[in-house]
């Protein structure tokens, strides 16, 4: 069920009233949440309900057994959970990629094979779901949390509908206690939730989907586009990606607030980051912290002193982050590039001079703005790899982009959208230190309501309701 549909509005409305009607009965309320979660997911494709149910159930029992087990069996149970979750991910997401790559490699050296790819649908939200359950098993193994013995709560944790399809990825330590304790309707939280939902919808239907039309035209015809058009396509795409994904996160977090839940922040105005490492602390925060805690830190600890090892771990980290997004060589190149972007930061751990330069660039009023723009452009460059169907298309795009051919004065549409985006980012700049960018509760009441009306009217009148899915549903 897409958040921007009549179906979802009806579903949310009904769920909201039933949920709060059961307020005094925690068990019934949690049972209802579970039913709502499965209705939500099943609306997209009921056939995969069994998959998430079985995976979650197995992880539930594995968690309990792991907690009680000795060191050896603890490890075995963890391996079982890893095998289950990564195995499911591998089959649905990566099997065909590896078969195709293996086949192409063998063909290139003259060996014919009889390997076949499978005709598999990728279940929506699989990457998010498996990471969430994996984090649960890993946290139990590390002794950070105790497993929950409440089956309904655990199933609800693994399938919580606001964040099931595209995050934010919630840690068990964060969400399970909230499910286990009574929720009380809070007016301010609910209003704030509605504001965040509205802002998320605004970003999606006013900015992301309108930009997508322009980006698609450019990428469809990239071989004949001018360098100016390719540059526009690149910039528009990175903004499309941001507004689409952060819009989804806002709707998810806002929905959680309506039901009395506090979900983690997933975006913190990443385009105002002054360095790449800072950008990654502001973009898809729930995913990067997962990878940092479960992959990067354990690896780096093996040899803390070596810069080369740290660089190697960083590249591995970002290649895995890239691959998490999709089974394509473009995501591997994406990961390698971002790993290499970290070189100055890594070197600064040992070189005071480099560290001083980085700090100066971040703190100087003029250079910090230049760094912001430079960081944005570096990120935008790599998102071409996100969008391109293969490495060849991406490299052709770059080649044509840097040829600087056919540059001309931008057309009216480009100028119009530049103005709109400048206004949008100006607003985000002003609001960047707030809990979320549409946190306007401190503004005086009439002005606040006027803003809320304006944004609602803009959504209704100008919103693109062409039923484009959220971009991160692909992952």
């Amino acid at each position: 069920m897409n958040f921007i549909t009549v179906d979802y509005v009806i579903f949310l409305t009904i769920s909201f009233f039933i949920y709060w009607a059961l307020n005094k009965h925690l068990k019934a309320q949690n049972a209802f949440i579970l039913i709502a979660n499965y209705v939500f997911y099943g609306w997209w494709d009921y056939r995969f309900l069994l998959l998430i149910f079985v995976c979650a159930t197995l992880d539930y029992f594995i968690g309990i057994r792991m907690h009680k087990a000795d060191k050896v069996w603890k490890r075995r149970y963890l391996n079982l959970s890893l095998l289950l979750n990564i195995g499911v991910l591998f089959v649905f997401k990566y099997f065909n990629f590896f078969i195709d790559s293996f086949h192409n490699t063998l063909s290139s050296i003259g060996i014919n094979d009889s390997l076949h790819t499978l005709n598999i649908i990728l279940p929506v939200g699989l990457s998010f779901f498996t990471f969430q359950t994996l984090s649960y098993s890993l946290d139990i193994y590390k002794g950070k949390i105790e497993p929950t013995t409440n089956y309904v709560i655990f199933l609800s944790f693994t399938s919580f509908f606001p964040q099931l399809l595209a995050g934010p990825i919630e840690r068990a330590a964060q969400l399970v206690p909230q499910l286990a304790s009574a929720r009380h309707f809070n007016y301010y939280q609910a209003v704030d939730g509605m504001r965040q939902i509205t802002y998320g919808i605004f970003k999606k239907v006013i900015i992301a989907d309108h930009l997508a039309l322009r980006v698609n035209t450019i990428f469809f015809n990239y071989e004949h586009a001018t360098s100016g058009e390719l540059f526009k396509g690149m910039i528009f795409f990175v903004i499309q990606l941001y507004t689409d994904f952060s819009g989804y996160s806002d709707i998810a977090i806002g929905t959680g607030k309506l039901f009395g839940f506090k979900l983690v922040t997933n975006f913190k105005t990443p385009f105002f980051a002054k360095t790449i490492p800072e950008a990654w602390t502001r973009w898809h925060i729930s995913l990067t912290t997962c990878f940092r805690d479960y992959v990067y830190l354990p690896l780096v600890r093996k040899n803390k002193k070596s810069l080369l090892w740290r660089l190697y771990c960083t590249v591995i980290l970002f290649v895995l982050i890239g691959l998490w997004h999709g089974a394509n060589f473009t995501f591997i190149v994406f990961g390698i590039l971002h790993g290499l972007y970290y070189i100055p930061n890594i070197v600064s751990k040992k070189s005071k001079a480099v560290k001083n330069v980085i700090n100066y660039l971040k703190e100087n009023p003029f250079f910090s703005r230049v760094s912001m723009v430079f960081t944005f452009l570096l990120v935008a460059l790599t998102t071409v790899l996100f969008r391109a169907p293969n490495v060849h298309v991406a490299f052709t795009y770059y080649q044509r982009l840097f040829m600087l051919q056919g540059l001309s004065i931008p057309d009216i549409d480009t100028l119009k959208w530049t103005a709109i985006l400048v206004l949008f980012f100006a607003f985000e700049w002003v609001q960047q230190d707030k809990a979320h960018q549409f946190e306007i509760s401190k503004i005086n009441r009439p002005f606040r309501i006027a803003i809320e009306f304006c944004i609602t009217f803009l959504i209704l009148y100008c919103g693109f309701f062409g039923q484009a899915d959220f971009y991160y549903f692909k992952f």
Binding site: T5, Y187, E223, F453, T456, L460
Partner: protein, 378 residues
């Protein structure tokens, strides 16, 4: 909770009004009438009823396939918009046995599928097919190649509540910029276009009142859809690459051959282009990558004894661009003349239509309508 709901109501009320008034307008223009109802109304009764939506999709394929299933017509036209000017009275006294299936097929793969369905008796086998195609059918990455429309037809957008939001938005845009054109809704029809006289008739052909009206007020031809600009910019059906797809050419030839082998009479129609469009097109590099192959294909069909109404421009047959709806669509007056002249000059008779009275068509042509685009000037 009450306080929150009251707070929400401040926003819900205007949103609800926006939606309710929007839906009321959609209802007023019969945009939300499902195609099954349209089909029933067009099948029953004698008055002309035009079907043309502007705010939802016009699901031609499911509508026309359903009509064909009920009518079981012996004479059909197949192809995209270029065949939509063929009308039932061209085949007097067999009007009731005719149906214009224009736009039911969108690409060569649809044709291949439909021909297979005829062979397997999945659909009614007609006695005569008039198949029209233009050069874009044999082009690589043709804009209508996105899917097989016969096996995977468009769903009726009206049945999806989510489409109503976009439609309501559009109608509010028209209200706000005062572009509803309510006074022009003078026709019996379904959908705003239909009520304004732009839509599919009961026989499946298309009534283009906007273009007729445009001609009656300006008294000259205009390429209203800007096909010259599309060719120049490589947009719409002229998207890149402008190269021939030989696989499509073979598929087309095989499909036409299969039609003949089934004993179905076939007339291939290569639609005309306006002199204005054609004189530009021949200078366009992309067009020149495709058009010679298209003409060769036409000539090959003629050589292989297919009935082919060949490509021409109005000037080549003693007419002017005033007879063209736009750069690539001839009006029904020109189409009827091309058709009539071809049948008469080639002495074509079909055993399946023994009483076909072409004099009836000639009589209508000879009446010289007020507007060169259409026989009805209203």
């Amino acid at each position: 909770m009450k306080r929150f709901l009251l707070r929400l109501l401040i926003f819900v009320i205007p949103v609800a009004l926006f939606i309710i008034v929007g839906e009321a307008l959609l209802y007023r223009y019969k945009e939300t009438v499902p195609i099954n109802t349209v089909m029933q109304k067009q099948l029953s009764g004698k008055d002309e009823i035009y079907f043309g939506r502007t705010l939802f999709n016009n699901p031609e394929t499911p509508l026309k396939m359903a009509m064909m299933k009920v009518k079981k017509p012996d004479i059909i036209t197949l192809g995209i918009s270029v065949v939509l000017q063929y009308r039932d009275f061209y085949f007097h006294p067999y009007e009731s046995r005719f149906y214009n299936g224009g736009f039911m097929l969108r690409n060569v793969y649809d044709l291949h599928t439909y021909v297979s369905m005829i062979r397997k008796n999945v659909v009614h086998k007609p006695k005569l097919i008039i198949f029209g195609f233009d050069p874009s059918w044999i082009k690589k990455s043709y804009v209508f190649d996105t899917k097989n429309n016969i096996t995977n037809p468009d769903k009726d957008g009206v049945n999806n509540l989510n489409n109503h939001i976009g439609a309501i938005q559009s109608i509010w845009h028209q209200v706000i910029i005062n572009d509803l054109n309510d006074s022009s809704c003078l026709y019996k029809g379904y959908g705003k276009a239909g009520m304004q006289g732009n839509g599919y008739r009961r026989d499946g052909s298309m009534h283009n009142w906007n273009q007729i009206k445009n001609y009656l007020s300006n008294k000259h031809y205009s390429d209203v859809y800007g096909y010259k600009k599309h060719l120049q910019a490589n947009t719409l059906m002229y998207n890149k690459p402008m190269k021939v797809d030989l696989h499509k050419v073979n598929l087309l030839l095989n499909s036409l051959s299969a039609i003949k082998q089934m004993g179905i009479d076939l007339i291939v129609y290569c639609p005309p282009m306006s002199d204005d469009f054609y004189s530009y097109a021949v200078t366009n590099k992309g067009f020149q990558q495709i058009f010679p192959t298209y003409l060769s294909l036409q000539n090959k069909l003629i050589k292989n004894k297919y009935h082919v109404i060949p490509f021409c421009t109005p000037k080549q047959i003693g007419l002017t661009d005033d007879y063209m709806l736009d750069g690539i669509h001839a009006g029904e007056v020109m189409v009827s003349r091309l058709f009539y002249n071809y049948i008469i000059s080639n002495h074509i008779k079909f055993k399946s239509l023994p009483n076909w009275d072409l004099n009836y068509l000639k009589g209508i042509i000879d009446k010289k309508p007020l507007c060169p685009l259409a026989f009805d000037d209203k």
